[in-house]
């Protein structure tokens, strides 16, 4: 009887083995890598808004403080989306004819709100509280980045649990004086964070009910 396998079969087998091993490795590695890409976290993608609201202009040029529109950020778990009246507060005077602001005016007349698009979204089982972060010297930029340089707001942080933990384990690196919390340009001096942490009694909260309730 002839030999069961020709000469080349050994080479073929070895190649096949290598391929299989690589495939298995990829099977495990690929999703782990994917979860860390901006495509999974949704970072750096500009979200189209019904009104092309330009933070660069409002914050950067006009120097309007964050709290002027996000009024409740210091009292509420949420920064809050400004009510239409807040927009109209200025824009009934300035640019009150700009076609760009037409949707806002329509909203103001009709009473039906402007359907803004959400950029920073946490799962429903995560309870993030703006007031305590802002109130303890965590600047807006720590999570939202240089909004004053964004024509359209985009997500700069992955907002993964691991990312939250990084800061909760070592908040010092981010802290700024309370009066500079809303100042996107402020750069903390070296060592300042540690002092502030002492001053504000900053705690390293990594237990679950800090965020999950």
């Amino acid at each position: 009887m002839a030999a069961p396998f020709p000469r080349w079969s050994d080479t073929a087998l070895r190649v096949a083995l290598v391929v299989i091993v690589l495939f298995v490795i990829a099977l495990v590695a690929a999703p782990m890598i994917w979860m860390r890409t901006i495509f999974a976290t949704g970072q750096t993608f500009e979200v189209d808004q019904p009104v092309q609201f330009d933070h660069r202009h409002h914050v950067g040029d006009d120097g309007i403080a964050c709290q002027y529109c996000h009024t409740q950020v210091e009292r509420s778990p949420r920064a809050g989306i400004p009510a239409t009246e807040v927009c109209m507060g200025c824009h009934s005077q300035v640019w009150h004819t700009s076609p760009m602001l037409e949707p806002v005016r329509r909203a103001w007349m009709s009473g039906s709100p402007v359907p803004w698009r959400r950029v920073h979204k946490l799962p429903d089982f995560v309870f993030f509280n703006h007031s305590i972060h802002v109130g303890k010297g965590v600047p807006c930029t720590a999570c939202h980045g240089r909004v004053d340089k964004m024509p359209l707001v985009q997500k700069v942080a992955p907002l993964t649990m691991g990312w939250c933990l990084d800061c909760h384990r070592a908040p010092e690196q981010h802290l700024v004086p309370l009066d500079r919390v809303a100042d996107p340009a402020y750069v903390p001096k070296p060592g300042e964070g540690a002092e502030l942490a002492k001053a504000y009694g900053t705690r390293h909260l990594t237990h679950c009910t800090t965020c999950h309730r």
Binding site: A3, S9, D10
Partner: protein, 183 residues
């Protein structure tokens, strides 16, 4: 450690076919007596005393597997310790984060697992497997090596190789046939 079966010269070696383990033993002893050293045998099951007859050293595989097992176990323990006690220590039921007794089972299992895997892979490598094709397979009737026949091969690479002598030796021990392997 794969034993080569190709050498310069007219023949690659001489194959003798025998019909019983005892005949095989006899053949090997005879060939050794005639000074042949590069011998190999083939048969359906390991014939007792054959390895001694061939003067094959005991496999040293165990010496490699042991450290691998230790490494596997060690890694397992480190992972448990680092994840539970260092990276994210939590108060779990008031138990210490570094709970050595609780880490034992997995440490043990991983040790065994790595040892077993290592042993298998090494055994194959040492015996030059997998090797689907082999010149002996082209030898007519060799398929009975896994059924009921026994073969002894005298490698031409053997410094003491002498076709006629080998043939004679095989004849003496009552080999069914002695076939030359073309290179």
């Amino acid at each position: 450690m794969r034993h080569r079966l190709f050498s310069r010269g007219p023949v690659a070696g001489l194959v003798g076919e025998l019909d019983s383990p005892d005949a095989l033993l006899a053949a090997v002893r005879a060939l050794r007596a005639r000074g042949f050293t590069k011998l190999d045998t083939y048969g359906p099951f390991p014939v007792p005393g054959l390895e001694e007859a061939l003067h094959l050293p005991r496999s040293g595989l165990g010496w490699i597997v042991f450290p691998i097992a230790m490494a596997g176990a060690g890694a397992a323990y480190l992972v448990q310790w680092w994840t539970n006690a260092v990276d994210y220590p939590l108060n779990v039921g008031g138990r210490p984060p570094h709970a050595a007794p609780a880490f034992v089972p997995i440490t043990f299992e991983m040790g065994v697992l790595s040892a077993a895997l290592a042993a298998l892979v090494l055994a194959l490598l040492f015996s030059g497997l997998p090797r689907l094709h082999h010149p002996l397979f082209e030898l007519e009737g060799f398929e009975r090596a896994s059924l009921d026949r026994f073969f002894v091969v005298v490698d031409a690479a053997d410094p003491a190789f002498d076709l006629e002598a080998a043939r004679a030796a095989l004849g003496d021990v009552g080999a069914l046939r002695a076939v030359e392997l073309a290179p």
